[in-house]
């Protein structure tokens, strides 16, 4: 077993443990956005798709590289945009009203008893 492989295995194991720790604290409300965010992060395979273009030389190689690039780029771009769209829902009502995001967004409805997302979030975690 080469030293590089041992280093990689160490990194893998520690990353898994970090993943457990970071994730287990997230409130249920954010689980769907979290899944989407994690989904966007594994779009980092785009880097892998770019790296295989380094060595592609045959038609089959080019075909695989093309497909990998399309897939990975779709994963990464779509993943971040859709996560951002989801998380935009969790802003303060005042902030939301201030942004013009389609006709419906601008129809602000002032309501009593609204708490900011931070305040509301604290009591529940």
């Amino acid at each position: 077993m080469s030293p590089e492989l041992l280093t990689d295995l160490t990194i893998f194991l520690l990353s898994v443990l970090v993943g457990f720790e970071v994730i287990s604290k997230v409130p249920a409300t954010l689980h769907t956005p979290l899944m989407s965010a994690a989904n966007a992060i594994h779009g980092v395979v785009l880097v892998g798709a770019m790296v295989i273009a380094l060595s592609a030389q045959t038609p089959l190689g080019y075909a695989l590289a093309l497909l990998a690039a399309v897939f990975a780029a779709m994963n990464v771009v779509g993943g971040y945009v859709v996560t951002d769209r989801m998380l935009r829902m969790f802003r303060r009502p005042a902030e939301r009203a201030a942004t013009v995001d389609g006709a419906r967004e601008s129809r602000a409805r002032p309501q009593s008893g609204d708490a900011s997302p931070e305040e509301a979030g604290e009591g529940r975690s």
Binding site: M1, S2, E4, L5, T7, D8, I11, V18, G19, S24, V26, P27, A28, T29, L30, T32, L34, M35, S36, A37, A38, N39, I41, H42, V44, G48, A49, M50, V51, I52, A56, G61, L64, A65, L66, L67, A68, A69, V70, A72, A73, M74, N75, V76, V77, G78, G79, V81, T83, D84, R85, L87, M89, F90, R91, P93, G113, E118, G121, S125
Partner: protein, 471 residues
């Protein structure tokens, strides 16, 4: 190691740090969006560094550049368009689709590396070939499985579990074939044939496994496949010796794993039982019956409106049916009309309401329901006895008091204490069962009235009636 190499490695390290910090910021609704941006920044830096790597290496052919540029352009455009245009109710299947292509990309990276450098006399070490085999196996299963899951959520694939005769034997055989092909790959025998067999067996395995699982379990499956893709990406990192891919993939694998367990626990389902499949359709559409049987009491829109309008306190319990009928805007309108008439309205959100944990919060937030009105189960349960009306819309098993008794299919599942409210109003499309397939004792309770209609039209009718009462 040249200066450029060092720079690239440092950027990769920073990107990995951004991913961890980004996920950490997802802990609270207030910082979550910022977290996603930190993670996106890391991603942009990683891609830029890789671009530098490609330019610096100088081995990319002109065709290679065109292929790469074209591929990224097409993929990015497709991702951007679908992410921008999707309705929030259809978001789970889009996430599943993105997960599918991610898994596919990971498998392709492994396959390409093996075809280029692997085989007898190739440059790949045995460890790298093992990683290739795992990458392709897991990536292809995630790809095919996520596509089927996406189709089921979208309704293109029937949500009922599709049970082939002898599927346990078939799946075991497929898994054995895949493992055997992977073994041949590692041993360096008949590489291309083994690779093809491995890909095909993994794809079929992914399709068959998910086909056999009912629609209501799809969220758990999507989450599990998300974790699988993470692991496949980490394996791709081992193959191309890129530590950032290993870190990011392992992070996602761990997060998906935890999330899957949390979701399965909240539904009181064991992961093994879900994967064996054949249980649960998730849709209440079948078995439409009239209200006469089983001793339920139905109610008309006007009576229901009176109960709501003259209540002091209403707790709304939204569920899968509300999401399926895309009626969250109508619900919010009804709640606003009630509030304008002085009724206090809260939303009780079960951890697995909607199609994914937290999905209901997103849907309600999209309909502009203030975050403060969405109350989590532990917080709202003690308040049900003080509510005049509990308005249940398209939720079934999460309200079934049978869960408190041992010996039923849902025993031990955390439920909302809807039956402790003064009276209960249930809007439901039909008298069909929830995914657990058992009768809901709440519906036959003496204080419960059933309003059998589609959630959207029912809420519109109710709002119109309430408006005539609230002046």
């Amino acid at each position: 190691m040249s200066a450029v190499d060092v720079l690239i490695r440092l950027v990769y390290l920073a990107a990995a740090g951004c991913f961890v910090i980004g996920l950490h910021l997802m802990n609270s609704p207030g910082t979550a969006r910022h977290g996603n941006r930190v993670s996106g920044l890391g991603m942009a830096a990683a891609v830029a560094a890789t671009l530098l790597l490609l330019i610096d290496s100088g081995t990319v052919t002109t065709t290679g550049w065109i292929v790469l540029g074209l591929g990224i352009l097409i993929g990015a455009a497709a991702g951007l368009y679908s992410a921008r245009s999707v309705r929030m109710t259809a978001m789970p299947q889009l996430v599943s689709l993105f997960n599918a292509v991610g898994g596919g990309a990971a498998a392709l990276v492994g396959a390409h590396d093996f075809l280029r450098f692997g085989g007898a006399g190739g440059e790949l070490t045995v460890a790298a070939t093992v990683a290739v085999a795992l990458d392709i196996l897991i990536g292809a299963v995630a790809f095919a499985g996520s596509l089927v899951a996406s189709g089921k959520l979208q309704g293109w694939v029937p949500s009922q579990p599709m049970l082939l005769p002898g599927r346990a034997v078939l799946n075991t055989a497929l898994a054995a074939i895949a493992v055997a092909a992977a073994g041949l790959l590692v041993a360096g025998r008949v590489e291309v044939t083994a690779l093809t067999v491995l890909v095909v067996a993994s794809l079929v395995l992914g399709v068959l496994t998910v086909l056999a699982i009912g629609g209501a379990d799809m969220p758990v499956v999507v989450s599990l496949l998300n974790a699988c893709t993470g692991v496949a990406v980490a394996m791709a990192g081992f193959v191309i010796e890129n530590t950032m891919l290993i870190i990011a993939g392992a992070l996602v694998g761990a997060s998906g794993g935890i999330l899957t367990k949390l979701m399965a626990d909240a539904m009181n389902r064991s992961l093994t039982a879900i994967l064996i499949g054949g249980f649960g359709t998730g849709d209440d559409a079948r078995g439409r019956t009239t209200g006469e049987e089983r001793g339920i009491q139905t109610i008309e829109a006007d009576d229901a409106a009176i109960r709501l309008a003259y209540a002091n306190r209403v707790i709304v319990v939204p569920g899968y049916g509300l999401a399926a009928a895309r009626a969250q805007n109508e619900l919010h309108e009804l709640a606003e009309v009630l509030r304008s008439g002085g009724v206090r309205v809260d939303y009780a959100i079960h951890p697995v309401a909607g199609r994914m944990p937290g999905h209901m919060n997103v849907l309600l937030a999209e309909a502009k329901v203030p975050y403060a009105q969405m109350r989590e189960m532990g917080e709202i349960n003690p308040e049900f006895p003080r509510a005049d009306v509990a308005l249940v819309i398209g939720a079934n098993d999460v309200t079934n008091p049978a869960a408190r008794r041992p010996g039923t299919a849902i025993s031990g599942m955390p439920i909302l204490d809807v039956d402790r409210a003064e009276s209960v109003l249930v809007i439901k499309r039909s008298m069909g069962h929830g995914y657990a397939g058992i009768d809901n004792e709440l519906y036959t309770d003496a204080r419960t009235r059933m309003f059998l209609a589609d959630a959207k039209s029912a809420l519109e009718t109710l709002t119109a009636s309430v408006k005539t009462l609230v002046r």
